[in-house]
């Protein structure tokens, strides 16, 4: 009898009715950056494969990755990578039951957003 009326029951309020919060936005960004980094991984692995294949093929792959389009893709990749790394650190802290209250979680959220931009700028300068 438990399956009766499945699918047409009223739903409790979901994401659409809530004001965006720093905690929820930094959380979804972690997922988006993590999965978007697949594209970056494929580009980098393609670059290695091209380098292993021949100088001609390498010139094509390296040309794509250092073109204006490649520069944008790599810069966004680095930003996403540092963001996901710092957000991962927050998760490792949270796993110990520390910093789960909203003020601390929001402070760490600002640290992740700011920190990823700072690390990206450092990376661009150094690399």
């Amino acid at each position: 009898m438990a399956d009766v009326n499945r699918g047409s029951r009223p739903l409790s309020p979901h994401l659409t009715i809530y004001r965006p919060q720093l905690t929820s936005m930094t959380s979804i960004l972690t997922r988006i950056t993590g999965n978007a980094l697949l594209i970056s991984s494929m580009l980098v692995v393609w670059w290695f494969l091209a380098a292993a294949s021949s100088p001609e093929y390498f010139a094509i792959a390296d040309g794509v990755l250092t073109s204006w389009f490649g520069d944008i893709a790599m810069t966004l990749s680095v930003l996403g990578l540092w963001y996901h790394t710092l957000a991962g650190v927050r998760h490792l802290i949270w796993d110990n039951g520390i910093g789960l209250d909203i003020p601390t979680a929001e402070k760490m959220g600002y640290a992740i957003l700011g920190g990823s931009v700072v690390l990206t700028i450092i990376t661009i300068i150094v690399v």
Partner: protein, 123 residues
């Protein structure tokens, strides 16, 4: 079967068998990547845009080659588990199983390609 409740049908069927494996695998790979990612960014980064000979010579050295190989392998094992969580949240039924199989296969394919390329450059 219609006379049994969902709970009654589930009783005695056991757990999903995996326990905290997924959580622990993510924890291990994320700790590893915390070390590997900075090393990779600052070894791979300067090589981007260099000549083919320079790149081959650089990744023939043990340290950059091992860092690159480890980073690609660990990243893909981390991605494999991470994307599975994404799929489980948004895709359901047969499509979910197909998507998980496809993304696991893709993860291994990228890892294998990367390791092959680095081995060929390094050796």
């Amino acid at each position: 079967m219609a006379f049994l409740t969902d709970r009654k049908r589930a009783v005695g069927m056991g757990s999903a068998k995996t326990g905290t494996d997924h959580f622990w695998a993510m924890k291990v790979s994320s700790f590893g990547l915390l070390l590997l990612i900075p090393l990779f960014v600052f070894t791979f980064g300067p090589m981007l845009g260099e000549s083919h000979e320079a790149v081959i010579a650089y990744f023939a050295r043990p340290f950059p080659a091992i860092v690159a190989g480890l980073t690609i392998a660990v990243t893909m094992m981390h991605f494999k588990k991470g994307v599975q969580t994404l799929v489980e949240d948004y895709v359901h039924g047969t499509a979910q199983k197909v998507a998980i199989l496809a993304t696991i296969s893709l993860s291994y394919a990228i890892a294998a390609t990367g390791l092959f390329a680095i081995a060929r450059i390094a050796l």
